[in-house]
């Protein structure tokens, strides 16, 4: 009887493990097929339409009618909004991360943490709508920008949207430091601020790098919130308030009208593949930073 039961539970055990393995394998399968399929579809611009990779990356002329889909404007646009977002959201996020890990009393944490979770949950389109109804009119009335749409509006919206990522990860980075570091510094007579700037910040550097890299990843991939406020003009940003476009916004703007198999469609898939490659490079950078920590 007992032997029978033991044999049965042994079989259950094996079936369960098989099921769990299959679920894990699905994750690999999903990522592999995504990578291969987008690589196949995203390189048709070069292998089917025979457009040069160099021109795709560096030509500022995006004219599919004359067979010339240069994506330099969108690449620069993505770069510009990302730099804008990380320049504001990065330091701000790290500062709040420090606050949460080192200064905030429990009561404050109980308010701030749920607030950050709500920020994560607010849909991208709602941020876009806020930018559209609040930020764009503000920029229009207070600057020389005629429409208010442009790089600055997109950058500001993005800098708010990446805050939760940067805050949470930099808080983790500080919390994972051994307390002996802090105690040692305080025991030597350093103030809390000196301890933070001279001991904790340098020690948490690799963790903070991870926070910033994942913030950048969020900014590069964000689509609708910035599409609603960036102005969607196929031109390099002439100034900080000038309208432009990014890789993601260009895909959303032109994909609905693109016919399957055309050069426009292929070029948009090439941009998606480029975004995928950027994401993977950032993941590798995160892994390098984490390896340095351990």
């Amino acid at each position: 009887m007992i032997a029978l039961q033991a044999r049965r539970s042994h079989r259950v055990e094996r079936i369960a493990l098989l099921g769990l393995r299959i679920a894990a394998a699905i994750v690999i399968l999903a990522m592999a097929s995504l990578l291969l399929y987008l690589a196949f579809e995203g390189t048709k611009t070069f292998f089917v339409d025979r457009f040069s990779l160099f021109a795709f990356l560096f030509s500022p002329t995006f004219a599919v009618d004359s067979n010339h889909p240069g994506a330099a404007v969108f690449i620069v646009g993505t770069l510009a909004v990302t730099v804008f977002a990380i320049a504001i959201g990065g330091p701000f996020g790290i500062a709040v991360g420090i606050f949460l890990a080192e200064i905030a009393p429990t009561r404050m944490t109980h308010v701030l943490k749920p607030a950050i979770e709500v920020m994560v949950g607010i849909p991208s389109v709602v941020y876009g709508w806020l930018g559209l109804t609040l930020l764009v009119p503000l920029i229009r009335t207070h600057t020389t920008s005629p429409s208010g749409f442009g790089l600055a509006a997109a950058g500001i919206v993005l800098s708010i949207m990446i805050l939760p990522t940067v805050i949470t990860l930099s808080e983790d980075a500080f919390r994972s430091l051994p307390t002996s570091l802090k105690e040692g510094s305080l025991a030597l007579g350093a103030t809390r601020w000196q301890t933070i700037t001279r001991v904790l910040l340098p020690s948490a550097a690799s963790g903070l790098a991870v926070a910033l890299i994942l913030g950048i990843a969020r900014a590069v991939g964000e689509t609708l919130a910035i599409q609603m406020v960036i102005g969607n003009a196929t031109q390099f940003p002439a100034g900080i308030f000038a309208p432009t476009a990014s890789l993601t916004t260009e895909i959303v703007t032109d994909m609905p009208g693109a016919t399957q198999g055309t050069l426009l469609e292929h070029a948009l898939f090439s941009m998606a593949f480029l975004l995928l490659l950027i994401a993977m490079v950032l993941i590798v950078l995160v892994r390098l930073a984490l390896r340095r920590r351990s």
Partner: protein
């Protein structure tokens, strides 16, 4: 002693005790102001959205059907579709992600397979949702020859949210103390019995909190759905349950579409109302996540977390 000497000197070299204390106080105040500004900003956002949108929240708007060219359209089918696609997505995501998470946390030994799963999950987590949307377009619309559909949208969102839910599962499992596992094994439980009867019940509170928070994100997802679930609802069958033949525009997609593509005259009213409904849903999901998580933890473990 030799190790501590340099830092002791650098601390002493920064000036008088008083100056250091002033710097410290100023820095503390600045950090307080920065952190508080996040709460203030969020509160202002919410108030502003309520101010803009509360006029729009009439029964005709919340339960009516959208209009293509004239004013007065509602968002009833869009709200329905958001929930429909959410349920479908969770149906696929929860079993897969929890199973994969259990595998990684409880079974997997270091090796190629585990590394491959982890690297795939991290990569999936970083891929922009618009790129995921285009992948969904390739697979479900071009390859499978489905139309824009509820199932296509839900499966795309499944891929998008698998990694986050796997992470939640792993974190929930890792919060269960090993002594519980050892006690179960010592009583003769097998590994699978230990996981299903001891570990998962202990982790259920945290797991539920995580699932509901992710559900909130699925509810508001837009970019991945534009090219998979579509930009409209069927005119003659707005509350369709069809899986692969009919477009299912969700509320978040509707907000974007109304603003950027449609020609109805009352864009502002629809946008303000939709944005407020989305915001209210996010707040409800956040509250529900906390309450449910706490209740379940208490129920299954007797602990109050």
């Amino acid at each position: 002693m030799a190790v501590t000497a340099p830092s002791a000197r650098s601390v002493a070299a920064t000036g008088s005790v008083r100056a250091r204390k002033i710097t410290n106080a100023v820095a503390t105040v600045i950090l307080w102001v920065m952190a508080s500004s996040i709460i203030v900003m969020l509160a202002l956002f919410v108030l502003y959205m309520v101010y803009l949108g509360w006029h729009a929240l009439t029964p005709a708007f919340l339960f009516g059907t959208p209009k293509e060219t004239s004013a007065g359209g509602g968002i009833g089918p869009e709200i329905f579709n958001s929930f429909y696609i959410l349920v479908l997505t969770l149906f696929f995501t929860v079993p897969t992600a929890v199973a994969a998470g259990v595998y990684l946390q409880e079974y997997a030994r270091p090796g190629t397979f585990r590394s491959a799963v982890q690297f795939s999950a991290e990569s999936l987590a970083t891929i922009p949702s618009i790129v995921m949307g285009l992948f969904g377009l390739l697979v479900f619309v071009y390859l499978f020859r489905w139309h824009f559909s509820a199932l296509g949208g839900a499966l795309t969102l499944t891929l998008l949210n698998l990694p986050a839910l796997m992470r939640v599962t792993q974190e929930a499992l890792s919060s269960v103390p090993d002594t519980l596992r050892e006690a179960s094994m010592a009583l003769g439980g097998t590994k699978w019995q230990t996981i299903t009867r001891v570990v998962l019940p202990s982790a259920i509170g945290r797991l539920t909190t995580g699932i509901v928070l992710i559900a909130g994100r699925i509810f508001g997802e837009t970019a991945a759905l534009i090219f998979t679930a579509g930009l409209s609802v069927p005119y003659n069958n707005p509350y369709a349950l069809d899986l692969i033949n009919l477009p299912h525009e969700t509320l978040a997609v509707h907000l974007w579409y109304t603003h950027s593509e449609s020609i109805v005259p009352d864009v502002d009213r629809i946008g303000n109302g939709s944005a407020l409904v989305l915001l209210i849903m996010v707040l409800l999901f956040n509250v529900a996540a906390r309450v449910l998580g706490r209740q379940l933890t208490k129920r299954f473990t007797g602990r109050v977390s």
